[in-house]
């Protein structure tokens, strides 16, 4: 039973980048970004290809982040330069990314048989390999949260928050909306691709379809974290998102333990989120019916 909890904890942390990326686009930039479905799989695929060919894991993770950033940049440019609607810009990119990821991987599934040496070098806390993963992923997640908190507290971060809060006012105060949105979306997708790479490395395989429903997953993690911790400051909000990722995976683990078929997981996730959107006080920019995004 304990392995179930530690496994859920590890998986939650592996997915934390997805939750943080979703938070960055939806909550900070006010931009519903569907690119995450494509960039999650792109990150997983990139890492799997490189690691299976003998590349060091840090290099594989770094390239996954870079490719995720590029995917986000494409969406940002489609939206800000070509004037394409935010949701449609994300759909266009993610559709294209499916073929790109498949080309990159060469086949639809790549298995990874070995645990990364970096993880094996960590203390196991008496919990074996799962404990070593827990240490590594906890450090990685805390590092991500600290870095994002720091960046969002700088003048540049303040500019991004202003763009999400009131783009008209942000432009009237000299902020370049096109560049700010593009950089923000790129950074968010870099985080999502890192999550894809970590998930692929942790679970021992990458699949070209692993990104389907990622936005909904990320959204569910953000909502759970915010509901449980009710954060009042940005660093706490980011921490809450990380905790939300762990709780979300724990709920899935419990549901599976109670007999839910794995094939029904995405349906259950979608229904849960729909209930929250329909009956709760939840308002998601661009996704809730009574809110429209201010266009440039």
């Amino acid at each position: 039973m304990f392995s179930l909890w530690i496994g859920a904890y590890d998986q939650g942390l592996a997915y934390a980048g997805l939750a943080l990326g979703t938070y960055l686009t939806l909550r900070v930039l006010n931009f519903p970004d569907l690119t995450v479905d494509g960039s999650f799989a792109l990150g997983g695929g990139t890492a799997a290809v490189l690691i299976s060919q003998g590349a060091p894991v840090p290099v594989a993770l770094g390239l996954a982040i870079l490719f995720g950033c590029l995917a986000g940049t494409v969406t940002g440019l489609i939206h800000t330069r070509l004037g394409v609607n935010d949701l449609f810009a994300g759909i266009l990119t993610t559709t294209g990314l499916y073929s790109i990821t498949l080309r990159l991987m060469g086949r639809s599934n790549i298995p990874l048989s070995e645990t990364p040496a970096g993880i094996l070098a960590l203390p196991d806390l008496g919990l074996g390999l799962d404990g070593q993963w827990a240490v590594g992923l906890t450090l990685a997640t805390l590092g991500m949260i600290l870095l994002i908190s720091f960046l969002l507290a700088t003048d540049f971060g303040l500019s991004l928050r202003a763009l999400g809060n009131n783009p008209t006012m942000a432009r009237a105060n000299g902020i370049n909306q096109r560049r700010g949105l593009t950089v923000g979306i790129a950074a968010a997708n870099g985080l999502v691709a890192l999550a894809g790479a970590l998930v692929a490395t942790y679970q021992g395989f990458a699949d070209v379809t692993m990104g389907i429903g990622s936005l909904i997953l990320g959204l569910g993690m953000v909502i759970i974290g915010e509901s449980v911790l009710r954060p009042r400051s940005l660093p706490w909000a980011l921490l809450a998102v990380g905790v939300g990722a762990i709780l979300f995976r724990t709920m899935i683990a419990i549901a599976l333990q109670l007999g839910l078929e794995p094939v029904d997981l995405k349906l259950a996730t979608a229904l849960l989120l729909l209930i929250a959107l329909a009956f709760g006080r939840l308002r998601i920019p661009g996704l809730s019916a009574d809110q429209g995004r201010q266009e440039q």
């Binding site: 540049f156 303040l158 928050r161 009131n166 105060n173 000299g174 902020i175 370049n176 950089v183």
Partner: protein, 281 residues
Amino acid sequence: MSTAPGLSVEELSWGHPLPGSGWRQLFSGFSLSCPPGQFLVVIGSNGSGKSTLLNLVAGTLRQGAGRIHLGGRPLHRLRDHQRARWIGRVMQNPLEGTCPGLTVAENLRLAERRNRPARLASGFLISAFGGIHPNAGDCRRYRELLAGLRLPLADRLDEQVGQLSGGQRQSLSLVMATLGSPDLLLLDEHTAALDPRAEAMVMALTDRLVRQLGTTALMVTHSIEQALSHGDRLVMLHEGGLIGDWNAAEREFLNPAAVRAMYSDAITSMGTISTDATSAS
């Protein structure tokens, strides 16, 4: 190219499509100049082009043709966020001129950085390590600024702007617009959404800040009473044309009834008044 200081609008043209079909040409060869330090008040009915003129100067609308210079700089070649280096702007809606989800201090910091916007590098490279803002020093400076203006916001720097009243938000927006001593202050019916008490407070603050900074100001208003009691010069617009221009001395002889009568005479003699001209202002 004009190199005259102050604000200069030359041969400005701008129009917009009408619902369904057709085109409405609001400005055709419109010119207006405003010497440095002048507080210019613009009045006119709905659709006269008052707010459109402000939007064209600010760059939120792009002119079809013509030139706009500020202190000799060709603003018409710049995008709105680039013009913001020299222009402070207060919007009509108190919610539009601030970021309601950010704190008072964060809003002030954004405005303070207006004439030197954050570069990508300041977020990701070495300068970021000294770049956490607003910090204690910033807050001390903002507290002194707000206290000096006798605004009851000095102790509320950590509160989200969305929690402030409309008058407080508009006061904050005005302070933000004047931070960094911009060359031009644009006031777009900035008291229209306020109750009379808040309106009086915001207008008193407007007069004080404009005089204190000596900045050129362009204020659009619907209120003839307000137009007659503030600013150095009054101009009247109708259908994108200038139909009245009074300096401070001439304005002394005007009263609201006389201005309304003059406006009515002017548009009758022009024969151009239209009932559907409401979309531009």
